[in-house]
Amino acid sequence: MTALKDYLMAFTRHIRDPQNASPPEGVSERGMAVYTEIVFNNIDSSVSACFPVLKKVLGEDIWLGLVREFFIQQPCATPIFREIPEAFLAYINRVSGLPPYVQNLAHYEWVELYLAYADETIDWSQIDTEAYLLDYPVAFVPAMTLLSYDYPVHQISPENIPASPLETPVSLLVFRDADDEVKFVELNQMTAALIEDLQDVQLSARQALIGIASAMAFDDVDAIVDFGFELLRDLKSQGAILGVLNTNHD
């Protein structure tokens, strides 16, 4: 390595890990301390802003230790600031010794940031907002994800820390509505399965529902279709469904 690179690597190794890595020889202690402080505070505030509940349930000391280890262990490859929390999430997912609910909770908190900025645009020219919801493929908002967690992530707080995983995982539909607000809707298992099938753009909602009834060997197809229709109307009123895909059906 060259003298310049040697110096820069030593300087930044000390910023990352001031306890264990010495600064380059001859650098003022006071000046160095400014950098170790501002750089870490910057990273901490970026990560803290995304994971407020995780920070609260872990407590200040464990949290700061975790952010420090992240900074030492996980080289961040992204120049984009809002992607720092995603790198932290990746670190959380590979580190051992954390309470078992932490990965679920961290993902749940991160997904709000992710969907708020997801580079998706609603193409209104492809969507009929007035048509009958059962007769065509459903048009969901493009920034949407269907999630399943082993822990009740949406209820965790310092006073409510889960001791064990749920018997049935919790399903959440998370989406950015047409007004750019990120919303969370808790779903039962049946509804979650329906939404998954309805995302197939080849099928009308009615076809998807009939397929589900058949897969479940459920005789009362009309009941499934009625149930599905109510669900679609509900999701439309909540903003996850915009209408149906415009397939030249006039």
């Binding site: 310049l4 110096y7 961040c76 900025y117 645009t121």
Partner: protein, 282 residues
Amino acid sequence: MQQFQSKRGAGLGLKRELIPQIQAQFGKKEIAAIDFLEVAPENWIGAGGKAAKQLAWFTERYPIVCHGLSLSLGGPDPLNIPFLHQVKHFLDAHQIPLYTEHLSYCAAGGYLYDLLPIPFTEEAVHHLATRIKQTQDILERRIAVENASYYAAAPISEMDELSFIKAVLEEADCDWHLDVNNVYVNSVNFGFDAKAFLQNAADAGLGGRIVYGHTAGHYEEAPDLLIDTHGATVIEPVWDLLSDVYHLFGKFPTLLERDTNIPPLLDLMPEVEHIAMLQNSK
């Protein structure tokens, strides 16, 4: 864009906190002194949703300057070429003519997300110049680089800061983004005369390279240690320096940076107006 390519103009950094306030005051005389806005591409590249709509609102109404933070021109990690292509696309998509970066680095074995000091060595001059040229090639335009504030002098430095800046600007053949607050902060932290520094820059013929300026407030941690927080009002000695700079080099578009401790928009306007006033005085 023609508005920005004129020799003057007072600008303000487009911070999220200020967005709704500027939108609400748009067209009113209270914020008429804002001629242009500045964005960090790292905050907007690839951002959809509300952010994309806000950016579109501003690019339709104001000239925009791009001031980058993450390029790490002086750093040991390889120059991030895919990111530079994203920057190029961003500049083209929003018709932003000017992109500036820093004489510093922010990545070494991964990003650290802050501006770190480069030793003033021959090797660093060549390293920076090579990467600035490469950046200009990819972006297909000249860029300007900003003199950075710093808090820890490198014992391996071989020259003073102005010699270093001059060597880089000339070897890279790029423009200078002059930050007067950074000159002031460094002059206090390292005990040199800021006015003499600027006079020497003029004598060295660097005036022709200045295309853009910054001014800002800072935090006094100790009488001989100023921190470039962009979190306070611009102090009188820095306004004096800006006035000197305009006399030495002529007028150029200049921006008020305010990144922390951000007050209501209307409380920032006297400083934006102060820039405009200095530009309009003889």
